[in-house]
């Protein structure tokens, strides 16, 4: 095991609460800068809603483009939370502790962002309330539950609710901690939010049980959310490359790949920005990279399986689509970049322990993965639509307009902005989890080797 500083609880509090109690100097300018970008983004969205979708690069038959790509991308990122906090919690992987909250947070904010995209992508966003709420009782017309577009908000809404609850339950002990260390309006805020947390054994028990129950309840969501997103495409018989039977597991595993990579990116940033070297350690990056090698390879398997299906069926339109996707300009460039950034460069590098323990390299490789994963979604959605379909004279490729690109940039700025805003008021690393793990580690320091084993409640 690596050498590490053993921190007592006072020191842990001091370092991990520095976002709230001693806000770093860079925080305000960064948040203000991002705020301006976000504001401009909202103005552009307003412009688009006001003028109509004519300002995008969409046409006939490329009816879906960058917005749907970005929607799928953010839903994919959101799988970070469920993977890290639910699955790793239930499998009792100790190394998850410092990242659980950040991952869960990323889930909540990326889902909030993802939900905006289908909304602004519709022709008449102001009538979208019709989608989710049963409407027109007088005429007896309810939303069409056969449509994946109805299942989407249901699945994402469930996920968002579960994740928010999960985040809040895990935040309670830290809110109590903050309440005791602040004054004035902040104290009032934390007092209200902490729901009278005193840290007595009964409250701890309820909090732990609540967390485990929520993890278990959210397990089905792990499978359902991105499966349903994949059905947006998979149930369309007319578009080659969309109606694939492997789409649900393919999308889920791809989502885990991009989500966990986003967590790695975020961990590196947290370590640098708040100087949490003692808490977010190279061994955490190492563990996540090992997990990612497995996930990414499974995902690559699906990618190739899709191509194999095309070759196996020798269905002419399908072969033509794959030819467009892989060999014709500009898709061949995108395909190359996607394969290199999505798999070959990062996974090739992660095979080496020196890379896995190098924070800067991990930051860049994990960023690469998400560039590749965004391209992957783009390559699934657009070539299928812009392929040369029979009986149509409008064969068109697709070039996203400036408005669409700026809304993509806005979405990244928006998520970062929300995260930073959150970091000002709430600790990004769960203090109590951190202390808990220190206690466990202390307790198992009996043998000659310091094994990262887990000592759970055994009363």
């Amino acid at each position: 095991m690596q050498q590490r500083r053993v921190l007592d609880q006072v020191e842990t509090n001091r370092i991990l609460l520095n976002g709230q109690l001693n806000t770093p100097k860079w925080w305000l300018p960064t948040v203000l800068g991002l705020g301006v970008v976000v504001l401009i983004g909202f103005v552009i969205i307003g412009f688009m809603v006001n003028r109509g979708l004519g300002v995008t690069g969409l046409s006939r038959p490329v009816y879906w483009g960058l917005f749907i790509t970005t929607f799928v991308f953010w839903v994919g990122i959101s799988h970070a939370g469920i993977m890290i906090s639910a699955i790793l919690r239930l499998t009792q992987a100790e190394w998850r502790r410092p990242v659980t909250r950040a991952a869960e947070l990323l889930t909540v904010f990326s889902l909030l962002t993802a939900l905006i995209f289908p909304l602004i992508h519709a022709g008449r966003p102001w009538r979208i309330a019709y989608w989710i709420l049963p409407y027109d009782f007088a005429r007896g017309i309810f939303p069409n539950i056969r449509s994946p577009l109805i299942m989407d908000p249901v699945a994402i809404g469930t996920y968002l609710t579960g994740s928010t609850l999960f985040l809040y339950v895990a935040l309670l002990p830290d809110l109590g901690n903050l309440r005791d260390r602040t004054r004035g309006w902040q104290k009032t805020l934390y007092t209200v939010l902490a729901l009278g947390w005193r840290g007595n054994p009964r409250q701890w028990k309820l909090q732990t049980v609540g967390g485990i129950l929520l993890s278990a309840l959210m397990l089905p969501i792990f499978v359902s959310v991105h499966s349903i997103v994949s059905w947006d495409f998979a149930i369309t018989p007319a578009v080659e490359g969309w109606h694939s039977t492997i789409f649900a597991p393919y999308f889920v595993i791809g989502a885990v790949h991009s989500g966990v990579s986003a967590v790695v990116t975020m961990m590196a940033l947290m370590r640098w920005l708040w100087k949490w070297d003692d808490f977010i350690r190279p061994e955490h990056f190492d563990a996540l990279a090992r997990l990612l090698i497995v996930v990414a390879t499974a995902w690559l398997g699906f990618t190739f399986l899709e191509l194999v299906f095309a070759i196996y069926s020798l269905d002419a339109p399908e072969i033509a689509l794959r030819e467009l996707q892989i060999f014709s300009w500009p898709w061949n460039l995108m395909f190359g970049v996607f394969l290199m950034t999505g798999y070959i460069i990062p996974v090739g590098m992660w095979l080496f322990k020196s890379v896995r323990n190098n924070i800067a390299l991990m930051f860049w490789t994990s960023l690469f993965v998400n560039i590749g994963m965004w391209l992957e979604r783009f390559m699934i959605i657009v070539p299928g639509l812009s392929r040369r379909t029979p009986f149509v004279y409008t064969w068109d490729s697709y070039r996203p307009s400036l408005v669409e690109w700026s809304i993509l940039v806005w979405s990244v700025a928006w998520v970062t902005f929300l995260m930073l805003l959150f970091s000002r008021f709430f600790p990004l690393v769960p203090l109590f989890e951190q202390k808990e793990s220190q206690i466990f580690v202390d307790k198992i320091k009996i043998g000659r080797v310091n094994v990262p084993a887990i000592l759970r409640e055994q009363e």
Binding site: G52, G54, P61, A122, G123, R124, N144, S147, A238, P390
Partner: protein, 253 residues
């Protein structure tokens, strides 16, 4: 698909005799005028956002000088098993009891999902608010809704003409006669390549045409079972048109 049990007395269908089509585009123009379709200006056309509920596709066959132009009119196929219907979240498109695929403009929120579902690419999105020059404003057809921006539209089988015809026959207490209801494209077709009628009536023209050996439907492999069917081109020089169509439209007859 949804309402198979509830079919009324009529089931509307269209027979397109490809052999008769000269590619004159009169149907395209008639449809444009009848259904208040916004003008396809040059910029809309170049951006591939033009709207034409019926279009005439042209194919070249052979090499110059032994070359032939082939035409086929394509409009909404009014599929019995339409891929556009189940994907609409708000039932803006659904199958009515008379075999028509109906688009309800008021319900449409513009997800464009139905357009992705359509293998014939006959659904159109209004990217902009429709505009007409002042001189054309009084030429608009009062029977047809003007579609605002942000919604889908497509061939309606001239549903306003169908409704009027059925109502007229009912008010005169007589059965509807075959050929009484004509769609705008059919009316404009100089060679009677387009034929609209009730396929539930065994004596109607479309029912007779359906029995023709040249019968085929577009993309039968997708199982959409369209209510628009085609009669293949007859070629004196080469008999490929017929045999080709038969092998393509395998499940016909």
């Amino acid at each position: 698909m949804v309402t198979q049990a509830g079919f009324g007395n009529h089931k509307w269908a269209m027979a397109v005799d490809v052999d008769k089509c000269t590619g004159c585009q009169a149907c395209v123009l008639a449809c444009q005028v009848e259904n208040n379709i916004p003008l396809n200006t040059q910029d809309r056309f170049e951006r591939n956002r033009s709207i034409s509920w019926i279009r005439v596709e042209r194919y070249w066959e052979g090499e110059f000088p032994d070359i032939k132009a082939r035409f086929i009119p394509i409009m909404c196929q009014h599929c019995e098993n339409a891929p556009c219907e189940p994907v609409c979240p708000v039932f803006a498109t659904y199958h009515n009891a008379e075999g028509m695929n109906v688009q309800v403009y008021n319900r449409c929120v513009g997800t464009r999902y139905c357009a992705n579902g359509c293998p014939y690419i006959v659904r159109f999105f209004n990217y902009w608010e429709p505009v007409w020059p002042e001189s054309l404003r009084n030429h608009l057809n009062p029977d047809v809704t003007i579609r605002s921006r942000g919604i889908m539209e497509k061939c309606s089988f001239c549903v306003h003409r169908v409704r009027r015809g059925v109502r007229k026959a009912a008010s005169e207490s007589r059965p509807l006669e075959d050929g009484e209801i004509q769609t705008a494209c059919q009316e404009a077709c100089p060679t009677s390549a387009l034929n609209f009628g009730d396929i539930n009536d065994p004596n109607s023209r479309v029912s007779q045409m359906k029995k023709d050996d040249r019968y085929y439907t577009l993309m039968p492999q997708l199982g959409t079972s369209p209510n628009v069917f085609y009669l293949a081109k007859v070629d004196e020089d080469r008999e490929i048109a017929l045999t080709g169509a038969e092998s393509e439209g395998g499940d016909g007859h």
